[in-house]
């Protein structure tokens, strides 16, 4: 509507104030008060339009939340979800992972991704739901350090493929040597968030066990650090126990050999720590528990709650220990919640995590880049919101491979998964820029990454990594996490500082020596010219002076 029309309507209304507006439909938008003819919806009308939104429908519309916002990112996210699942499966089964990742170009905007692992395979009955239903998985309902957390990833990739190419996800799985391999093709009923098995055959498959996932998606392939290439390279770095073969769309085959011959210590599953539980979840847990009384509920559903501390919580909440959790209403839950917050409890068990470890961090770094100096640190676990976590950092400094006049290269990992996007929103980046690298002999502008020939890697392992969004690209800035990251950075920074200062001292020494060599002969020549001394005396003067200066520190 143009401004002129609006004016006209207004002045018209003024002249014939009580009369009906000539254009009621328009007037609705402008002057809602003078609109007797407006059709208002009744609650009943609205109810007709109100219906359940399925998770799949929601994500069809909001694919960016899952990391499918651009064709280039879609390729990366798809690869990432498939590789994360494959590594998780192998590790849980205690198998050293052997991965084959292949990306084929169907045409410029369409790619076929296949990821094959030597994991335990998937029981036939579970395959459709794992790949064809969003928010279905083994990882959401437990607290254990793993790559996947929510059970969205691979099914979201499948859905994306289905939406953009119409092709169903293909899955081959074999659970043991004597058992048949099955090939499925699964589509997602996005309305109902339910899998539809399009095909299911027994197939000949040579590996003893494992899973192979094939997806055809709309995507573009790019080279570089933010691409699949970078992702695979960094994944190999953070997973030195895995062997990864990567065949890129140009048909080039890159092999990342296994560096560590042992699996990392398997992370343990823990129950939530009371201090990390929110009121709503507490209420839900109260209703769903099998425990008969409050004491039983607290000691069985949470970690670090003894019978004594359970009684203390109950007392503070003014509830009897025998109180039935199923009866708890909001008020009781809130009293309980407040009681939990004020009760002193042991920190959650920290030995449940599986960090990479200093030694393997260094090995991974050395494999990744040739540098003059390496340092790594693996900090002891800490706790945020009742969740144990652990920060590790490693750096490589100097050498031809690293450019000296640019900002450092920073690699972020969460539970061994490289994070490639949203660098500036991440707690890691914030911690790096807030650290004073000048103290360790590097150049750094205010609020920026340091400028140095350096590769820096930060890894956060946790039973629950708090990401800023579902696409898992940036770690949320909890103060406890930021603090630990900074301490880890200071740790490697100090080691680097010692190295750099030693280097400076050595180059100072070098300069000093060359200065002495260069200029002392001239003092000899001048003294000879002025005093007429012979060559022998001149040389003696030079030698003595050289000796005197070399012994002095200034």
């Amino acid at each position: 509507m143009s401004g002129a029309t609006a004016k006209k309507t207004n002045s018209g209304g003024k002249r014939a104030a009580p009369a009906k507006s000539p254009a009621p439909a328009r007037a609705v938008k402008q002057t809602p008060r003078a609109t007797p003819k407006v059709v208002r919806l009744t609650a009943a009308d609205m109810a007709e339009k109100q219906r359940e939104i399925s998770v799949s429908e929601f994500f069809t519309k909001n694919r960016h939340l899952l990391g499918f916002d651009s064709p280039a990112k879609a390729l990366l996210t798809t690869v990432k979800e498939a590789v994360d699942n494959a590594l998780d499966a192998c590790e849980e089964a205690g198998i050293l992972p052997d991965l084959i990742l292949e990306i084929q170009e169907v045409n410029e905007t369409r790619y076929r991704v296949s990821v094959q692992d030597n994991g335990p395979g998937i029981v036939k009955a579970q395959v459709p739901r794992i790949f064809g239903q969003l928010l279905y998985g083994s990882k959401f309902h437990r607290l254990r350090q793993s790559r996947g957390q929510q059970g969205i990833g691979i099914s979201a990739a499948a859905m994306y493929g289905q939406l953009t190419t119409g092709r169903a996800i293909g899955v081959i799985s074999k659970t043991g040597a004597g058992k048949p391999a099955h090939r499925f093709e699964i589509q997602i009923d996005t309305r109902a968030n339910r899998p539809v098995v399009v095909a299911d055959h027994e197939v000949e498959w040579i590996p003893a066990h494992g899973t192979r996932v094939e997806l055809e998606i709309e995507a573009t392939y790019k080279k570089g650090r933010h691409s699949v290439d970078g992702y695979v390279e960094q994944t190999a770095m953070a997973n030195p126990h895995a062997q990864i073969v990567y065949v890129d769309p140009k048909g080039e085959r890159v092999e990342y050999p296994r560096v560590a011959q042992e699996l990392p210590v398997p992370p343990k599953e823990i129950k939530p720590h009371p201090h990390g539980v929110e009121l709503g979840i507490l209420l839900k847990m109260l209703h769903e528990t099998k425990a008969k009384n409050l004491q039983g509920f607290l000691t069985s559903e949470f970690s670090r709650v003894s019978a004594a501390s359970a009684d203390e919580i109950a007392k503070t909440a003014m509830l009897p220990p025998s109180y039935s959790p199923h009866k708890a209403a909001r008020d009781q839950a809130e009293a309980l919640y407040k009681a939990i917050q004020v009760t002193k409890l042991m920190a959650p068990p920290a030995n449940v995590l599986s960090p990479i470890g200093e030694e393997l961090l260094l090995a991974g770094m050395k494999k990744q880049v040739e540098a003059k100096f390496y340092a790594a640190t693996s900090r002891s676990p800490a706790v945020y919101r009742g969740n144990p976590f652990c920060v590790e950092a490693a750096l490589a400094f100097g050498g031809e491979a690293l450019p000296g006049d640019e900002l450092i290269t920073m690699l972020r990992f969460a539970n061994r998964v490289p994070l490639l996007y949203q660098q500036s929103a991440c707690a890691v980046s914030k911690s790096v820029t807030q650290t004073n690298w000048k103290a360790y002999g590097l150049q750094q502008s205010r609020g920026a990454l340091p400028t140095a020939p350096m590769l820096l890697m930060v890894h956060i392992a946790s039973v629950w990594v708090p990401f800023t969004s579902e696409s898992k690209e940036a770690v949320a800035s909890y103060p406890e996490i930021m603090k630990e990251i900074k301490l880890a950075l200071m740790d490697v920074g100090r080691k680097l500082g010692i190295y750099i200062r030693r280097g400076l001292r050595e180059s100072d020494e070098e300069k000093k020596r060359s200065y002495i060599e260069k200029y002392i002969p001239h003092i000899g020549i001048a003294l000879q010219e002025i005093l007429g001394i012979d060559d022998k005396e001149r040389d003696k003067v030079c030698a003595t002076l050289k000796d005197t200066l070399e012994r002095s520190r200034t």
């Binding site: 002392i520 001048a526 003294l527 010219e529 002025i530 003696k540 200034t554």
Partner: protein, 361 residues
């Protein structure tokens, strides 16, 4: 003086060698070359050095400068012994044979030269180093007695016989003798004003000797006038632009010397000089056309009032400078042409010279 320079150089070098052989780090002491190291001795009439010294110890960081200083001393000794000279520029080029100890810019060699000069408290001409710059021009009732460079026979140079040209002050003036009946010496800042006075034979009319400085007077120019004025007991009047540069740089340096070459001010100053004009008061009295003072001018003037021992000593001068700053303008010598090209000859100079007691000190 140059006769005892060689022993001085040898003594210094011997000291360095002795220290080295005693396994000590050799050290040389240089006078500080800045205004902070001078005081105005009114009786003597010039900036006297106050004796502040900086020590230069041979360390890793100073080994290069130390080597260059010693090599510069060696070059000076050679020049003196062979009765040769080298311009500052030539000395810089000689250093190009010194390998790693060579100078990269002439400013570096000039600084080392100035240090050596101050170390031995001589002037660089005595060390065999001469500047490229001209000494200044002379015209008027003066006969300069010089020596023929080949035969050593005296040559009489009559400064009235240069027509519209002028006699050029040589770089070394110590051997010159003078004959004159002039009543005073008029020292002029700009060549343009000098030309006008020469052309119209002002020196005949006023019975004086005209000197053109061409900006800040060279050492030779100052020395020449000093010797001439001392020898013939002549008053010296200085005629420069009425701005902070003409007053604090040109006139101050001419009369009492500088901080940079404090060790030789005794010889290179003209304490009997008096300031004829252009004074700040002249700007008003003669209604001279002016230009506004630039920021650097104001800074220079304020700095002189605050830090320069000469201006701190002479209240009249401090007042005149403040007057100039408060007016916020400057006037050039040639501004007098606004009242007619020869106004300077017919009116200004005669009026001024009639009352030398009114000149600024």
């Amino acid at each position: 003086m140059s006769e005892n320079l060689v022993p001085k150089i040898k003594k210094e070098a011997q000291g360095v060698e002795d220290q080295i052989l005693k396994k000590k780090k050799p050290m040389m002491k240089f006078p500080v070359r800045s205004l902070a190291n001078v005081k105005y001795a009114e009786k003597a009439g010039y900036f006297e050095i106050r004796g502040m010294k900086k020590e230069r110890t041979l360390t890793v960081n100073t080994v290069k400068t130390f080597a260059q200083t010693l090599r510069m001393m060696a070059l000076s000794k050679t020049l003196v012994e062979t009765d040769d000279i080298a311009t500052k520029r030539e000395a810089y080029y000689v250093s190009k044979n010194w390998g790693d100890a060579r100078f990269l810019e002439q400013t570096e060699s000039d600084t080392v030269m100035d240090d050596v000069e101050a170390l031995f408290e001589v002037n660089r001409e005595q060390m065999g180093f001469v500047p490229e710059e001209k000494g200044g021009d002379i015209s008027g009732a003066l006969i300069v007695v010089d020596k023929d460079t080949d035969t050593g026979k005296p040559i009489r140079i009559d400064c009235t016989q240069f027509g519209s040209g002028a006699y050029s002050i040589p770089i070394s003036v110590e051997h010159l003798k003078f004959e004159t009946k002039a009543k005073f010496i008029l020292v002029i800042e700009t060549a343009g004003m000098f030309q006008r006075l020469v052309k119209h034979g002002y020196w005949k009319k006023a019975n004086c000797i005209l000197v053109s400085m061409g900006g800040v007077p060279t050492r030779a120019c100052r020395r020449f006038i000093r010797r001439l004025a001392d020898d013939k007991k002549l008053p010296v009047y200085v005629f420069v632009d009425g701005d902070p540069y003409g007053i604090s740089n040109i006139y101050r340096t001419f009369k009492v010397g500088s901080g940079n070459a404090a060790h030789i001010n005794e010889f290179f100053c003209v304490p009997q000089a008096r300031f004829l004009g252009i004074t700040p008061q002249d700007i008003i009295d003669y209604k001279l056309p002016t230009h506004p003072l630039k920021e650097v001018d104001v800074k220079r003037a304020k700095d002189a009032i605050k830090n320069d021992p000469f201006f701190k000593h002479h209240k009249a001068w401090a007042k005149a400078m403040e007057h100039l700053v408060s007016m916020g303008v400057r006037a050039e010598q040639q501004a007098l042409a606004a009242h007619g090209l020869n106004y300077v000859i017919d009116e200004y100079l005669p009026q001024k010279i009639a009352h030398p007691e009114r000149f600024l000190p």
